[in-house]
């Protein structure tokens, strides 16, 4: 699909050494904005190519995860264990504006890109590293997956909310939440640094730790706790707000109900038709001033009985029109059918030579002048090796 819109990051050359979801997704955020991202792959391909979900076709081209995280890139296979491979990489680095990597600390230096020596070895280069615990990770942080980052940053212990009984904490949504979050911080810093460099600023080394990213995402709460303005404890509910807000079952799925003040209580009452239970020991302002466990439980129970006769989209729409905060608990199927997502064109159709045609989720911002858009599907393994090497004036 061609676009007449200019691209926000056109003309920027980025070498992607990353081989995990964090770095690859960061590269995608930049490439979908028009940056030229050259993905360096080992001869057997990025390990992400071996991760599910799989569509049709065979490895290494059937991973829908890889297809999602690598749109609009070029793939160059280099064996960095050989002199020849490292020599091509060095040529690519000489003409690159930025590098994104997500290997463990020390990996870059092994291939001649020592972050500490970057200003001398590659002046002007913006080098970004994304790791679970940063370049200064301690001995007991060396091996980490997204799950471990989720737990080390406080999200794990406190997920889900309302876990007063201390049940097993949950992993959070999906497999790569920490990686996606870190990718956004990395892409933000890289873009800012690249823009500064174009205005005469220096190259930079950027060290993004997924752990610090997720910790920072709790700033509203942790920022209060570190100075003693909010109590800390061993409770799994220490980050919670209390109250009856919860996911509740309805006839065809689940809805999320939010209730926090007298106005909402009155609107809800009107909506469900002055149910008798709402007069049983519920002062009008109970949500703010008398929010007991008993009232919370009774509210949830009665609401669940009412919701059992309701459909999630219909009841939510009715509630929203009345100013009651009920929303459907959507699943991917709902999102693909969502009139709002369609209106905003959140999904973008792409034809991948092996996986075939699919609707890809895109990004959460609509931009009037430089809309980001996947310009092409993820590259086949080494699909651009010949072309890129010849651009460098050499032979593959």
């Amino acid at each position: 699909m061609t676009s007449t819109n200019p691209s926000a990051l056109a003309g920027l050359r980025i070498v992607e050494l990353a081989e995990g979801v964090a770095g690859e997704f960061c590269g995608k955020l930049l490439s979908d904005f028009g940056a030229e991202v050259i993905k360096i792959e080992r001869p057997c391909g990025s390990p992400v190519r071996r991760l599910s979900p799989f569509g049709r076709g065979e490895a290494p081209e059937n991973s829908a995860l890889f297809a999602y995280a690598n749109t609009s890139k070029r793939s160059v296979v280099l064996d960095l264990e050989t002199e020849a491979g490292r020599s091509v990489l060095e040529k690519l680095l000489l003409r690159a504006d930025a590098v994104v990597d997500d290997h463990e600390p020390g990996w870059l230096a092994r291939y001649g890109i020592d972050p500490a020596g970057i200003p001398e070895s590659h002046p002007g280069l913006v080098l970004c590293s994304i790791t679970p615990f940063g370049q200064d990770a301690g001995e007991t942080q060396r091996h980490a997956e997204d799950l471990n980052v989720f737990h080390a940053s406080g999200w794990g212990y406190h997920t889900p909310s309302g876990n007063a009984r201390g049940r097993t904490p949950l992993k959070g949504a999906g497999r790569f939440l920490a990686s996606y979050e870190a990718a956004f911080d990395a892409a933000l810093c890289m873009t800012a640094a690249l823009m500064d460099r174009e205005a005469g600023g220096p190259g930079r080394f950027i060290d993004v730790s997924a752990h610090r990213v997720l910790y920072s995402r709790l700033d509203y709460v942790l920022g209060q706790m570190i100075i003693g303005d909010m109590d800390v404890s061993e409770a799994h509910t220490a980050l919670d707000l209390g109250g009856p807000a919860a996911v509740l079952p309805c006839r065809d799925g689940f809805v999320y109900v939010w209730l926090s003040d007298e106005t909402m209580w009155c609107e809800l009452r009107r909506m469900i038709g002055d149910a008798p239970w709402m007069d049983e020991d519920f002062p009008p302002n109970w949500l703010q001033l008398a929010c007991t466990t008993d009232r919370v439980n009774r509210t949830r129970r009665h609401l669940s009985e009412w919701l059992a006769t309701q459909d999630k989209h219909a009841v939510s729409e009715e509630a929203q029109k009345r100013g009651v905060m009920i929303v459907p608990v959507n699943n991917p199927e709902d999102l693909m059918a969502s009139p709002q997502y369609r209106f905003r064109e959140y999904f973008h159709r792409l034809e991948h030579p092996v996986l075939g045609e699919a609707l890809y989720p895109t990004v959460p911002y609509r931009m009037s002048a430089t809309p980001p858009m996947p310009s092409q599907p993820a590259p086949l393994l080494g699909g651009d090796t010949q072309a890129v090497v010849s651009e460098l004036g050499g032979q593959a």
């Binding site: 829908a64 995860l65 794990g156 909310s161 049940r167 992993k171 949504a173 810093c189 890809y360």
Partner: protein, 407 residues
Amino acid sequence: MTTTMPAQTMRARGGPLQGVRVVELTKVWAGPYTGKLLAFLGAEVIRVESRSALDSSRWFSEDIDNAPGYQAVNPQKLSVQLDTRTPEGRELMLKLLASADVFIENLRPGAIKRAGLGYEEVRKVNPGLVYVSIGMYGNDGPLAYQSGYAPCFAALGGVSAMVGYEGETPQGMNIRYGDSTTGTCAAFAAVTALRHKRRTGEGQFIDVSAVEALSTMIGDTIMAHAVNGSATPCDGNRHAEMAPHGAYPSRNGEWISIAVNSDQAWKSLARLIGGDALVGDSRFADLPSRQRNLGELERIVEEWTRSRDASELVTSLQSEGIAAAKSLNTIDLVADPDLWGSGYFHSVLDVKGEQRPIMGPSWYMTEPARLMRGSPRLGEDNDYVLGDILGISPSERARLAADGVTV
């Protein structure tokens, strides 16, 4: 009152966005978080505030300048008082926006247009402005009228449905999840637009949907459905590529997370738990076997972790190359020695002119912005913004204050 850190002094804050001016009309968390990230990169971020429409997060304290949550998400920013609902206040706001590079707003749906500060109005005074609007569902579309808080974004975006115990009603993420994530997506989009503006002079309208921001954090799950129609019911702590994977109880009510990402890692764990007998147990030999026998596998791991100390477990697991970390409660979080030892927390001047620690950015970078002060007092930078930027004389500023424009 004293000015703790003159705005003029802060011009030499450094960082890649030094020289960029951001104006924000934001509330609570998502919008302020966008501004905070830009401030942490060196931008001059000016909060436009008014007693007549105060950010509700300032009210969670008797002293609006010392409200803890507000202070946590607004360090390094400036504050100017302008009641944009008065005709003069709106005019001054437009003048300020004419001098800005970026504008951020996250008011309720339609509120900014009703205030006469919608994009079409503002672009007339500054066609180069990057105008960032953040809403639950974005600005336009059939559901744009709806509103909600962060857990609503998570429910709508597909996140909540994936978090829960097997076979039960979904639980969703922690209630705090969603605002800061949305704010980050907005900040990234804003900086890409800044580059376009630098190259062409052209500004633009950026319409951020918080619901879509959360969907983006489960993009691969949505992609899986798009490619092969797969459903994603709650599955506790299961992981398609790892087993064991989850949180395990340890001594004294503590928890640790363990993620076994290869057969080799399993062998190492099995050796720690049960020696050669467990290493050779065919029920757990490879990932498919471990997934098939997950119940028994989890029981064995739990039995082993339950009586042990969390930190000692992490040390021994890490030394064997197994991904593990303690699951931190809020006591652990505020005392995290790695963060305190690594320069993550910054000491800045607060509204009383005293040093206080703030959480710094998630990144370390060479040539960073210097973080100098905490969140601003309401109107702390009136003189700088109204006087130095807008060129209003002291007597005229006194009149504006008396007339209720700069309150």
